[in-house]
Symmetry: C2
Subunit: 146 residues, 2 copies
Amino acid sequence: MPNNQFKRGELYSFITGKASTAIARRLQKKFNAAGLNITIEQWSVLYHLWKQEGISQQELCNATFRDKPSITRLVDNLEKLNLVKRVASESDRRINMIYLTKQAQKLQEDTMALAEETLNEALETVPADKVDICKEVLQIVYDNLK
Amino acid sequence: MPNNQFKRGELYSFITGKASTAIARRLQKKFNAAGLNITIEQWSVLYHLWKQEGISQQELCNATFRDKPSITRLVDNLEKLNLVKRVASESDRRINMIYLTKQAQKLQEDTMALAEETLNEALETVPADKVDICKEVLQIVYDNLK
DNA sequence: TTTGAATAGTTGCACAAACAACTATATGCC
DNA sequence: GGCATATAGTTGTTTGTGCAACTATTCAAA
């Protein structure tokens, strides 16, 4: 058995994701304090659209590691907030291309700054080489299970 | 700036907790496949009650890193499933002491085995010393933000 | 001892996730 | 061309989360 060295408390933390939950909550509070009326989940969709917009909902599913109903409803809510719009594809009418509004483009800089700030607070006092190893392990975990 | 070395994809993963989400999903599937009719969140409450039962809902809040309404509803659902029962404290009538049923006691062995199995799959190919560093970093992150 | 603050728990609301079942469109094979 | 199958997206249901507002009980200080 390769890694059967789990003590109980640690097993619990790994499964429940205490650390990432804490990071997400802190970031959400920063959004709220800044008067940015979006959720972390909505931000995670915008995050990928800032990298490339005009992608399909299915591509958003893959990018955000969510299923199709989740993306449908996140896009619904982002549309209500006037942050994205669905545009039916000309070549394949099953597909919605998702585009950012000007309002959403304005959000990028502020929210990314708050995200970096949050991670800096989270990783304060952690040496950079340990952070690297941690990122590496989490990536392998994801690849092992996806 | 201590740890401002985030590349974008990594920032995203840290905040969204891709790895822990993947672990939780895998474990949920194992529960379902084994015919164990409980959610990961319900399991996380039972997990602490197996260590010590007869604790208050507030103590469950602290242990599971959830707020009071979340615990109220998780205990509601666990009670519907006949896995726990609320017992009003004699000394302080505001407090519910939460006790396990026999049915819940039977669940411990099987679910813990599936949880360990899941973590072994997740951490296959990861050297033990890197796992230790990862656990350490995640603990510091949690302590920095809580 | 009474009154105000703190604590334990519950309820309502909005948002999100997982699953199953559904519609609409496209594709490929005969 | 026509039908089976795959793909893109939507909807309904159950469960969970976070926040605010609420009730009940306890505690502490005037």
